[in-house]
Subunit: 323 residues, 2 copies
Amino acid sequence: MAKDKLIGVDLGGTTIKFAILTDTGEIQEKWSVPTNILDNGSHIVPDIIDSINARLDLLKLDRDRIIGIGMGTPGTVNREKGTVEAAYNLNWKNVQHVRDQIQKSTGLNFTMDNDANSAAIGEQWKGAGENNPNVSFITLGTGVGGGIIANGQMVRGVFGAGGEFGHMVVQPGGYLCTCGNHGCLEQYCSATGVVHLARDFADEYEGDSKLKAMLDNGDEVTSKIVFDLAKGGDFLANEVVNKMAYYLGYATAALSNILNPAYVVIGGGVSAAGDFLLDKVKANWTKYAFSSVRSSTKLRLAALGNDAGVIGAASLAREFIEK
Amino acid sequence: MAKDKLIGVDLGGTTIKFAILTDTGEIQEKWSVPTNILDNGSHIVPDIIDSINARLDLLKLDRDRIIGIGMGTPGTVNREKGTVEAAYNLNWKNVQHVRDQIQKSTGLNFTMDNDANSAAIGEQWKGAGENNPNVSFITLGTGVGGGIIANGQMVRGVFGAGGEFGHMVVQPGGYLCTCGNHGCLEQYCSATGVVHLARDFADEYEGDSKLKAMLDNGDEVTSKIVFDLAKGGDFLANEVVNKMAYYLGYATAALSNILNPAYVVIGGGVSAAGDFLLDKVKANWTKYAFSSVRSSTKLRLAALGNDAGVIGAASLAREFIEK
């Protein structure tokens, strides 16, 4: 029987998302289960196995048709050994032998990568990247991560740190980062970074602003609130977004000058601010991009939303397609 | 007869360098001819053809043993069409059909790339890159260029501008660059950039300094003189080198964080300043590199000197090795 199905698993700190796709990347079936991080996350891999086996039985899908399972995961992935460690939001502190367990208990091929690379390949294959062989992806969430596809291949580098855009220093001597350096992109363009900027700007601002009033009042302020207020014309909120867009424009221009991808795709929760954000980022990017890059590389918003994870994960399993 | 020889051609504005190498990259024969840029550079390609044909005849080297010819060239290379244009130091203003002419008149396979990519692959294959599949190369000459090898392949990007490290903006609002932007790396770390920094620093410096005396006196000052004076303890020259090393450390850290290569190799005329420069660059790089990059990526000086060009060019012709 011809193998024509891929399984994608997007393992997150609260939910595990699953999908069955055709080998051309069309989602045919989606489901999810909550992530049980109790007992040092020891239930996670068995839950994944049970969920896949149960679904294949339910669908009466012949296992001979499955090319393989791909998974995106938090933490540090050792692709050679098929292990994950230091995935703190899964309570995985020790090395987890994920591949061996899943392969053994499902009888299916299994491969994985970190969640940022996984989302990057999803957007490159079926999203804003339009299957171009040269795409860079930057994700703005709680932190800032990303992935690079060059010549049709993921650029992982010598230690898997390729595409760690969040730790490009964009403001020497700037905000202290969790990594120990100062002025990393993540400190300005993640959801928490935007709020940090808002607090600093509010301290120095004396004019009228709902954002300032909320911060002074001790209300909870999220990056979404900052963007919504900016769209509504709040002066201070716009100053914050302009600063954030400056850093993001500067950083994406640097990576465009280095890689000259067809597309730099901006995803993650913060990118939900949409064209309002993208236009401001583009204006800054244009100032810092090299002329031939300016005319050949394009900035875009991610297109797959929540599905980037499972699609990208499934895409990883294309390595099992017999040539 | 088994094909086991590569020919490398390093086309420059003053000299065309040639070499015949084994398929494992050992140089067996080297020669060069002056570059005749008269008559819109129309003699250059015929000179290359004649020189290769004459040398093969002289050596009585069987053409069946030649895998192919690779060439590194200035200007904008269209690899698909085998053409070059806008190579101003060759007087090539119009499109030159280089590949077709050379293939036809030598009967040998021919491929080419720009000179920075060519030197990059030379250093990656046989130089400081130790044949690692992930190497970035930055060359500090009259300008600043470079090349990226990731997953064993050259990263050219969508328009061939991949690896254009010289136009990363390292000082927003800084020195005006020939590209129209402000604050490009090239304006601080090329030979001319170092001299520009020296003039600016000298204007503001009142203390004792041979460098300042030379500049005030209207003596010709080169980047080599700045480095030599710095090594000799000249205060102002050291300030200049420190600033240049800051920018180079910052930029190489950014590209290390993006690509996580095994080696960032620093070459070109300015890199002749050696460990004196490298140590200062490393000190800055360490400040801006992400922790996992700091422990896995290494900065190194180029190892091949003038031979990087011909070795890299020859390496391009490895694409003709039959698998």
